[in-house]
Amino acid sequence: MGKVVEKPVGSKLKGILLIAAYLIVFTTLPYFVSSYFLSFLITLFSLVTLTSAWYILSGFAGYISLGSAAFIGIGAYVTALIYKNVPLPLCVLFSGCIAGTIGLLLGYPILRARGPYFIILTYGLAEFFRNAIQNWENLVEHLTGHVIFVGYLIPQIYLSIMIITLFITVLIFIIKNSRFGRGLVLIRENEDAAESMGVNTRLYKSLAFCLCGFFQGINGGLLALYWSYVEPFSVFSSVYSVEVIVMAYLGGPAVYGPLLGSSVLSVVHVLLWASYPYFYLILLGIILIIIVMFFSEGLSGVLRKLSKNL
């Protein structure tokens, strides 16, 4: 092993100050803005969390997952089933735990596949859960969907998702500089070589999948409270899985890529749909095409080039 390089104290202080600034700004924001803006921020933070969670496995280890919808749906359904009997914060936490546990248990066999086979398996995971729950509801419970009517919770949902977003963003930076993170990167670069160097690849991948599932499950639980109604068709929608990947690629390969991509796309999205309800998807598509064609390293690549030139 090489010499351990200690990070300068200044960067830790920078980090702490950034976290403090983030908390001050976003905790006090509800007193100054409309509840619509809070709704918008809920969507934005939710997308940042989902994309960041995806990044833990797919960004670090290079295992592209189309299974985000599975964990979101599991989280949403767990909350829908237990919210009447369990305090809401515990509901949401439990949703994450269940989704994370499923990620850990299923990750072990699924992660034996690589490349396109893994992508197909994760896509199948979401479809499996959607159909399984739908059939269970139809045949056993004789209903479809659950109404989760707990009243108006937008400020509470906003605060929760804001803190979770902070947590996962910090976690990604910690993972990046940790043995775990370096192990995942080695897996991405050359899994066989990583294995031969003593990295427990199966354990690392499963843990990454578990963390991904945990945070996406928590997100699903919060979204269930936000939407007030869950049904298999909507909460297990594959659109979420694709959206997450688009945002991650828009952000670029950097560790802050998910944060950047999700934020920018959410802002562009809301500015367009409010002003151009009939054309915003076309405009959004054109913007994405331009970015993919001319900025192949994503927005983080653009920022990196700009900072080098400055």
Partner: protein, 420 residues
């Protein structure tokens, strides 16, 4: 150290400036509008999976109603002593119920709309429910299932019951009861969605209550089904008297086509939405349509002068006539809102809510009133007769007749399907 601190402070200032500018230009509450018009907001799927159905039924009827009202000068509001024209603000929810919350938040807290019209579909209406409850905006939900609404507590949600499962099965069973000699056995198919399940549940409860008919076959199917052949083969082999399919327009049309091709024969073929929409008329010529039963709230052969005006204007503007279910509900929603404002004499939403909860309304779906369910919401019902939905049948002229209940029927039912 100083440079780091300066960088951090600069960063915070930059973020604060960006947030402020975004808030000021795009999000900040705009001043309340002067009362020269009534601003009505809603979300509608302009894109996505349900856009086509929503455009056909919801958007077309909302736009038609707005133009109709404004052609008369607007809605009379006694508080202002004049008619106020209606203006819409609407946003695309991209067929995603998740966007509905944000949209209705924006409509209320940023656009300051006076009133709301509902979005399309059950999931969308439930997504909007906490928002309307929080801000106390009464909303008449025309295109959402009302079965769950009977047990969902709400003071500001008023549910029309879009092809309501309970009402539909009640009129169907009343018909089947009167024709026990002809119809003894049924096969039931239902789409695996809230809509299909609610219909099947309502059917099952009534079957237990009435003690008949004998169900020889019951299956559910996924919404994205592409082939009904195995289902049809099984049903054929059992030779039931009636086929009841609780379907959506697209899968309903597919089943109908394949049933014709496989020469399925039954005395009674009932379809909830498959035979109701204009799509069915586009796919099948009148000869092939003949014989199918369906729920309807409209009698095309017995339209009142006002309904006839709506019917003809709809065809002239959109190129197709209104369907007997969702179009009726969408139009009724608008009519109820207009009458509630006129009766309240004000745009005060509490007074409008009070009127909605207590008065009856003349609509294209008949005279309606809302009944509050204990621990639930208000659901509409017809005040002049027992049934809120009727049984219709397509009898080969491209439209449909009302064949049940006998008091208001326009033609006798024809047994035997297909009639080609």
């Amino acid at each position: 150290m100083k440079r780091t601190l300066a960088a951090v402070i600069a960063g915070i200032l930059i973020v604060a400036i960006i947030v402020s500018l975004t808030w000021y230009y795009y999000i900040a509450p705009s001043p309340a509008p002067t009362k020269e018009k009534i601003l009505i907001g809603f979300s509608v799927p302009l894109t996505g999976a349900v856009a086509a159905s929503a455009q056909e039924c919801l958007m077309s009827n909302y736009l038609y109603w707005k133009d109709e009202v404004n052609a008369e000068g607007g809605i009379y509001v006694a508080e202002y002593g004049k008619k106020l024209p209606v203006e819409f603000i609407y946003y695309d929810d991209a067929s995603d119920p998740g966007k509905t919350v944000e949209i209705y938040e924006r409509l209320i807290s940023v656009d300051h709309v006076d009133l709301l019209l509902p979005p399309w579909g059950t999931a969308w209406c439930y997504a909007a429910l906490p928002v309307i409850e929080k801000y106390r905006y009464p909303m008449v939900s025309g295109l959402a299932s009302a079965v769950k609404a009977r047990s969902t507590p709400s003071e500001y949600g008023f549910w029309m019951g879009d092809v309501d499962a309970v009402y539909t099965q009640e009129v169907l069973f009343d018909f089947l009861n009167a024709h026990r000699d002809e119809i003894k056995t049924v096969a039931v198919l239902y789409v695996s969605s809230l809509f299909g399940l609610e219909h099947y549940e309502a059917f099952s409860e009534l079957k237990v209550e009435h003690g008949f008919p004998e169900v020889v076959y019951v299956r559910d199917y996924p919404t994205e089904i592409k082939d009904f052949t195995p289902f049809i083969s099984s049903i054929k082999s059992l030779n039931p008297d009636a086929l009841l399919i609780f379907d959506y327009p697209a899968d309903g049309s597919l089943f109908y086509r394949q049933a014709l091709e496989q020469e399925l024969r039954v005395k009674l073929y009932f379809s909830t939405l498959g035979a109701t929409y204009y799509l069915f008329e586009q796919v099948f010529p009148p000869k092939e349509q003949k014989g199918v039963f369906m729920p309807t709230k409209l009698a095309p052969k017995m339209l009142s002068p006002e309904e006839k005006k709506w019917w003809d204007a709809f065809i002239s503007r959109f190129g197709y006539h209104p369907c007997g279910a969702d179009c009726v509900d969408a139009r009724s929603t608008c009519q109820i809102l207009q009458q509630a404002v006129e009766k309240a004499g004000t745009l005060d939403r509490e007074k409008i809510r009070e009127v909605l909860a207590t008065e009856s309304f003349q609509t294209v779906a008949g005279p309606l009133k809302f009944k509050k369910y204990e621990g639930g919401s208000c659901v509409a019902y017809r005040v002049d007769q027992k049934f809120t939905i009727f049984l219709g049948q397509r009898q080969g002229d491209g439209l449909w007749e009302v064949v049940w209940p006998p008091k208001i029927k326009t033609a006798d039912p024809i047994f035997g399907w297909p009639q080609t």
